[in-house]
């Protein structure tokens, strides 16, 4: 199995001379089996270029997994060319929206409504299927299996574990480590803390030993201090989780929108120094980079 970062940016695309190396497109990861099976993790603006590449070898069969439906993880979808061409088979998987009581089919119909987009979802000519996922569901694609786990983000957000060609990859979508909302001394501190520990442990166990671990690490610890509850992790917390779970190699992604290449470099240098003796191998996710797992 190999994967390629098509988009690594968090929140909003950030094009410009300061983001050319780590990338300005929002989240999208192309995953391919040795035999050529294609699955895509998230459909941020990075999926557009993938669509252009795929257009050269149509008809295609492709599986798109959406971790959650915040804009930066879906906004490239209406620009994914294979959706417009008959003969392509595209299946879109993702979480339900329990508040509007709709499934993942709304991911296209909503953002392609008349005031927002000139083409309606009903006019897309590819053969499109939708599958709304349940927490813990396992999808067997034949060339790979994809299992999921509900993560911590201000939306229903699934982390995906892909098992393919004897290797495994885990992608968090967006994720903030669970934390206790009570203070020591509050009556519910212990009870709440117990559930928080359970959830954090369940995630650690779920990703134990995966070969590649792609994780949301949007913030530094200083930034996080004022962004608690926004649903993203920090570099340090991401690495600590990876170390604890004993994963193969970590790719830190969902780069903060305002972060320049030079700033990402500086953070990477610092982390390499501070984590030199630890049992975790890591790198920053770079748009365009292909990794053989």
């Amino acid at each position: 199995m190999r994967f390629r970062f098509r988009g690594t940016r968090g929140s909003l695309p950030a094009p410009g001379p300061d983001t050319v190396r780590y990338g300005g497109n929002t989240t999208c990861i192309e995953v391919r089996s040795d035999a050529g099976g294609l699955l895509v993790l998230d459909a941020g603006t990075g999926i557009r270029e993938l669509g252009l590449d795929e257009a050269r070898r149509m008809p295609i069969d492709c599986h798109v997994f959406i971790s959650h439906t915040h804009w930066d993880h879906i906004q490239g979808l209406p620009f994914f060319v294979p959706l417009f061409v008959p003969g392509n088979r595209i299946t879109i998987y993702g979480p339900p929206d329990p508040l509007t009581m709709t499934g993942i089919e709304a991911v296209l119909t909503k953002q392609m409504e008349y005031p927002h987009f000139p083409v309606r979802a009903a006019e897309l000519l590819a053969d499109i299927d939708y599958e709304t996922l349940r927490d813990g569901q396992v999808v067997d694609l034949g060339f790979a299996t994809v299992s999921n786990m509900l993560m911590n983000h201000p939306a229903m957000d699934f982390g995906f574990k892909v098992a393919c060609d004897g290797k495994t990859l885990f992608f968090t979508g967006d994720h903030e480590p669970f934390y206790n909302i009570y203070e020591p001394g509050d009556e519910d501190y212990a009870d709440y803390g117990k559930i928080v520990d359970e959830r954090n442990r369940a995630i650690t166990e779920f990703l134990r030993g995966v070969d590649a671990f792609i994780i949301d690490a949007q913030y530094t610890e200083e930034e996080y201090a004022t962004r608690r509850g926004w649903g993203h992790s920090t570099f340090e917390r991401a690495l600590a989780l990876a170390e604890e779970a004993g994963v193969g190699r970590v790719y830190l992604t969902h780069h903060e929108t305002t972060r320049t290449d030079a700033e990402v470099d500086a953070i990477l240098d610092r982390l390499k120094r501070e984590w030199a003796d630890r049992r975790v191998r890591f790198d920053m996710a770079r748009e365009g980079e292909t990794v053989e797992v």
Partner: protein
């Protein structure tokens, strides 16, 4: 007259209690920085609310892998944002019966109430009320017709007569009620608000939403009045009364607009009401 009053009070006594938590949730949910702990605490203190939330998050809509057994559990699993939106949806339709009663189609009734709630909040915002107050404006609009539910539940025969009479003459329902029941839904709504210990301004808005006189005395009452006329004019839902009244001079002066002008100032009302419809669905889901 004594007789009527006694009958009304008996009807009001039969209504279920209005959870204080509903009010608190409406308030908390309008705060972008709402602390998760506070919301969780409000929900926990209300066993009915707690039960409804647990039922909903364990429903097929959420598709969770394991059973959620407590509000702490739901809070960790779903996080603040989802919990807040679930609570908000449930809060709105919490205490009120869902089945149709005495000629009142509860679906249409709720849609009308939500439209008035949404429009009242928008009018309040146009007049510069704070976010905190905007939640109160929403609640006033939501509950303005609550007296009709008391009539429909506990004085159904007379209420049916009033509905029929209003429909026949195309006359305002509150006038027909006064004839058939000796009091209007605004009167009995105010009595209920008293039993529910709703804040004074809210009670006042329920009592006077058909009786603004020349207008200009209370900003909240004027907003509910105008929102009610707007919702009827645009036919959002129905609560047994289809006649809309022009705005009296004091209300027009407050907005510096007449009814048509106000409607033009609220192009997103349709969309916001559509969003609020979720509340009805959520209530049914539980």
């Amino acid at each position: 007259m004594q007789d009527v009053k006694k009958k009304l009070l008996t009807a009001v006594e039969k209504m279920p209690a209005f959870p204080k938590s509903v009010h608190q949730v409406l308030k908390l949910a309008s705060d972008i920085n709402c602390p998760q702990k506070e919301l969780v605490e409000v929900i926990k203190r209300d066993p009915v609310f707690t039960l409804k939330i647990l039922r909903l998050v364990n429903s097929a809509y959420f598709g969770l892998a394991r059973e959620i057994t407590s509000i702490n559990h739901a809070s960790v699993y779903l996080g603040l944002n989802t919990l807040k939106n679930v609570a908000l949806g449930l809060a709105a339709v919490g205490a009120i019966p869902k089945a149709n009663v005495a000629g009142l189609d509860m679906g249409a009734f709720w849609l009308h109430s939500l439209a008035v709630a949404t429009a009242t909040r928008m009018l309040g915002s146009m007049l510069g009320v704070s976010r905190d107050e905007a939640a109160d404006y929403f609640a006033a609009g939501l509950l303005h017709d609550i007296g009709k539910v008391v009539f429909a539940l506990y004085m159904p025969v007379e209420f049916q007569q009033a509905l029929a009479r209003a429909a026949e003459d195309n006359s305002p329902l509150h006038e027909a009620e006064a004839e058939s029941l000796g009091a209007t839904h605004a009167d009995i709504g105010a009595l209920l608000a008293e039993k529910w210990n709703l804040p004074g301004p809210l009670r006042n808005a329920i009592e006077r939403h058909h009786d603004v006189g020349e207008g200009g005395r209370s900003q909240l009452v004027d907003c509910v009045f105008a929102a009610n006329q707007i919702s009827k004019k645009l036919a959002f839902g129905a609560a047994g009364d289809f006649s809309s009244t022009p705005l009296p001079p004091g209300v027009e002066a407050r907005f510096a607009l007449d009814l048509e002008g106000l409607i033009k100032e609220m192009p997103t009302l349709d969309e916001e009401v559509e969003h609020a419809r979720i509340f009805i669905k959520l209530g049914e889901a539980s």
